[in-house]
Amino acid sequence: MATYDWLFSSLGLEEWCGQGKSGAPMSMADLLAKSKGDEAQEESLWDLPFPSMDALNESCAAFPKSRELTKGLEDGFLNIKDSLSLVLDPITQPLSWGLDGALYAMLNTPWWLVIPIMLAIVFLVSRSWKLVAFVAIAIGSLAFIDHYDYAMQTLAIIFVCAFLCVLLGVPIGIAMARSDWLQRSAIPVLDMLQTLPPFVYLIPLIFLFSVTESKLYGIAIILYAIVPVVRLTDLGIRLVDKEVIEAADAFGMTPRQKLFKVQIPLALPNIMAGVNQTIMMSLAMVVIASLVSAPGLGVLVLRGIRNLELGVGLVSGLGIVLLAVILDRVTKASLARVNAAQKQ
């Protein structure tokens, strides 16, 4: 006898309950109860269980257990998995090519070409010799302790993913800024993407794609990191001074001219702040993505945890910090230059 027997008997559902036997796997609690042997216990009000699925199942075998809910989700996903990957596979294939290509290019170009090119880019966007010197020292020391390849792999992945985030995120943000309806429906999705624990992204992706494909971690990184650039593009365009928009209208700009000559340029500081956040979040995710075969410094961190190699883990962790500082400083410096050009 269980607590909620009365509920089913009063509803006249005893017959229905008798038919079914739950097909869910046995839980640990069930096993323990079985091994103890059923002792008839006096139930007090104090021990009243919440009428949860499991508690109701005890009274009525036809009532599903909660494990069946998750199992149902699993089965459902497995059922649509094949057709889903049939669609998603070709669409996302370019991501694999991009990632593999970037990794190949980064690792097969000699270091004495890659490092100067990177420093040149740093100078172009920041115009600061101090920053160039800092980046040179940071990468030089990583290379000196033989972490060059790992660091370059991480950077290659971040470049590709952040680039795609901007490529997709900015248009989405612009569309959101133009339509209140789209904004209202997109914000919950963005909230969910941002708060879902990063590991959770990986679970359905592992089912969909083979672990040997680089797009698996590419998608996880993009989903996680695209949020800030979308949000800040939307915000930036909505924050553009109403009077300036009015002036653009009063002088007869077409909507397209308004977008490209007024709204995007004026939203640029916010968009750049979004890009900065996106890059930082891809860096965070690329470490976690090493669980699903993403190469780079994350692999070393993982090795440190798995094999308890304290030194390996710590050094590669510090390497990640160094990359983060470099990426942050460089994007912030270019952001500052954009800001200086158009403060009001």
């Binding site: 300036v244 009063a250 007869g252």
Partner: protein, 345 residues
């Protein structure tokens, strides 16, 4: 000074709210602004506005904040669409214009100057000035000369390559004016263009505008809440109160014959001697006068007072371009300076 009507506003209504058409019926049946807000939850923006704006004149629309003056000026280039009524520019009702025709009108026929300047912060001064040309698809090479010419005309020579944030407020508004002039549009809409500037600079800018107007004869619609500014600039003054025109006409006329307590309150604070001009007070010339001297019809009364040293028995001859057009007795002048009834409370 008979001039063509450039813009004509007829029976213009604007009601803000979810169902303006329903509310419009109530308003046309005579519901007042507070009643409409309370019973229908709609805001009455403009009620039955009829104004003719003449070519080559400065028409000043004056009212306190909330009187609907900024709403009204935005109807002239359809930044706001009316609930009912018509706006005719050169005889054509712009409310029937398609998007494309409307854009063309805004590019070629009307330019606008804004209270907060509304310059593009990421463009240089010269690029801002050439905005209308750039919108029309031309490059900086095409408009550079024209833009530099007008920037020099408003006193910004040497600032062409700077960014707006490097300039002071007054200079930024000069860029705003240059931007409107470069577009070469015959109509200029000025929405509280000088209200954000401090008094000295404001006075400079008013002088600049009058100077430019002497030369260019644009049709200017100027919005302000400042009566002194309105009287200084206006050829035609329209006074708005709670979305309605209370009085319009020659500013001197309004000053001498205010028809509403609201306007009386307005004009009671100003220095009448400085604003009123000889032509508004003079009477027809008589043959038996002994003139103490000559005054020009556009002199203000303050200067005549100074000339007469306060002697009320004198009579002056009023001249325009050397010809006698009337007589001004100091007695009439003194009477004109008496504040309008009701103003002194």
């Amino acid at each position: 000074m008979a001039k063509n009507v450039k813009i004509s506003i007829r029976n213009l209504y604007k009601i803000f709210g979810p169902e303006p058409d329903v509310a419009l019926e109530y308003v046309q049946r005579g519901m007042t602004k507070p009643e409409l807000l309370e019973q229908q939850n709609h805001v009455l923006g403009l009620r039955d506005i009829n104004v003719d704006i003449h070519e080559g004149e400065i028409t000043v629309i004056m009212g306190l904040s909330g009187s609907g003056k900024s709403t009204l000026i935005r109807h002239l280039n359809r930044l706001i669409d009316p609930t009912s009524g018509e706006v005719r520019v050169d005889g054509k009702d712009i409310l029937n214009f398609s998007e494309e025709t409307l854009r063309k009108l805004r590019r070629t026929t009307m330019s606008m100057v804004f209270q907060k300047f509304a310059l593009l912060p990421h463009k240089t001064v010269v690029e801002n000035a050439g905005l209308s040309w750039e919108i029309g698809g031309q490059t900086q090479k095409d408009y550079e000369d024209e833009a530099r010419k007008w920037l020099a005309r408003v006193g910004l020579e040497g600032n062409e390559e700077q960014y707006p944030h490097q300039l002071s407020g007054g200079m930024q508004q000069r860029v705003g004016i240059a931007r409107a002039l470069v577009s070469n549009a015959p109509i200029m809409l000025m929405d509280e263009a000088f209200s954000a500037l401090d008094p000295l600079i404001r006075s400079d800018m008013q002088d600049l505008l009058l100077e430019l107007q002497e030369e260019l004869h644009k049709t200017i619609v100027f919005i302000t809440h400042d009566l002194d500014e309105a009287l200084k600039l206006a050829d035609h003054l329209v006074i708005l109160k709670e979305g309605e025109v209370v009085q319009q006409g020659d500013p001197q006329d309004i000053l001498l014959n205010p028809n509403d307590p609201y306007i009386v309150d307005f004009v009671s604070d100003i220095n009448r001697a400085r604003v009123l001009r000889v032509r508004s007070v003079m009477t027809e010339a008589r043959s038996d006068d002994e003139y103490a001297g000559e005054v020009v019809e556009n002199d203000n009364l303050e200067s005549v007072l100074a000339k007469s040293e306060g002697d009320v028995s004198l009579v002056y001859r009023v001249v325009r371009d050397g010809e006698t057009v009337g007589r001004l007795s100091m007695l009439d002048l003194t009477k004109a300076l008496v504040p309008t009834e009701g103003a002194s409370r």
